[in-house]
Amino acid sequence: MNESLISYLSQFEGHQAFVKMASEMAGTDLTSTISFMIYLAAVLAVVGVMATIGGLGTYAERKISADLQARQGPNRVGPFGLLQMLADGVKMILKEDIIPRDADKFMFVIAPLLCIVGVFGSLAVVPFSSGFILTDLNVGVFYLLGISSLVGVGIFIGGYSSNSKWSMLGGMRGASQIISYEIPVTLSIIMIVLIAGGMSFGTLISGQGGFPHQWYLFHNPFTFIGFFVYFIGALAETNRAPFDLPEAESELVSGYHTEYTGMRFAFFALAEYIEVFVVCGVAVALFLGGYKVPFDLGNGEAFSALPPIIGKNIGQFLQLGSFFTKTLALYYVVIWIRWTLPRLRVDQLMTLCWKYLTPIALFNLLMVAVWVYAFEGQSMFELFSSMGSGSSGGH
């Protein structure tokens, strides 16, 4: 399949005509070049949006925590303190960049880079809408798992390179926590792959519908459990509270980025916030119907009265809205959890992963396989409705 932004665009006549025209003008085939330009623009847009979301994340975090604790939160800079994030960004750039004397300089530089590369790489397959997905790889979700494990390496190297005990502890913890929780997450994803019959996000989402009862979340009882397994695992993988042991302020000062200042620290923070967004997006795509809009409004056929380029794009915007609404709702839940639950102890963390989530995820996987086999891939609601329609009895 390998849908991508370009393959979406190339169904419009305007795009094709433009490519043809440009190629004729230049005398060579410019398809790739134009694709590159479009991709570059899209990537810049995505990165911009993500940076904004990262900034907004810090703002939202403070605002929501203030709300939960009956405080005001940032309210001086700009309306409702909205410009606080800009102020923070400016402050980050202006901060002095300190590399500890005893640090491993090369690693110190490379650690935030690995984090950023890992997170940005995973953005490539996040399905914002049916058209606006940078590239819908065949191995989409599997690729995402692989590339985002760079973040673990980055965190470990960040902790290692600082040559500080706090950082080292934080880095070790972070790496082992991330790899541990990758297991239940992987197993939960395999579970959904098994139902959907493919790893690309297009396939994963196309099996679902716009209404909640068509989501994989409610496909069967085991996916319902699997969603929570995935979500807990994802929280831990992104080092969010209550799993923020690598940066536990009360014990490790600031964890693996204790020695980082200025922009380097900012990149760690940015990577974390974007990763939270990405895992929420993946949760939405896997379990909550992705960008699907009820009544199939998203594919633009409802607007067939309009010219296709407008109708389709209205559908796309509806899908974008659907995706961002769900993802940001989950994002809110993440922040909410952070300010509600106390931090786990490190042994509790490992116990939770290996003795609860992993067995549950394995059990879920088997049970979903059995379910798909037994009910021929039907969901609970399809089963109920087929029962209601009286087709019971013979095979």
């Binding site: 950082s167 082992s176 297991i183």
Partner: protein, 145 residues
Amino acid sequence: MSSHNLDVYMPILILMGVGVALVFGAIIFGKLIRPHNPTRLKEQAYECGEDPVGVAWSNFNVRFYVVSLIFIIFDVEGALMFPVASVFKKFNEIGRGGLLLCTLSLFVIILISGVVYCWKKGDLDWVKSFHLDLNKDSESKKVEA
């Protein structure tokens, strides 16, 4: 199954390039406008205000390794299960789902038996394996007795 060309990997490369450019760009750009006056104290690693004792790169407890060991086994098993899982639906539709179910179940059960072993032996216990080091003497005495 439609064919594709390698352009699908383009955004990944662009994103990574943008990421690298962003990191280095921001740091190089920042170099122009931010202060730079290192002092000895500033460049010291933070250790609650004291001078750092030794280096941080000492060797760590083995339990980190055991966790990552179990992880990598699971990781590889997951990698093997992904293609099988993605053809499960197709096989099920042509009525061969039972075969896949058996294959997958056997695979997962073998995997589980390894985990059960590690669980029973306490490799999954963070605290217990820590205590093992301390209590080993008394335990071995018990065994001798």
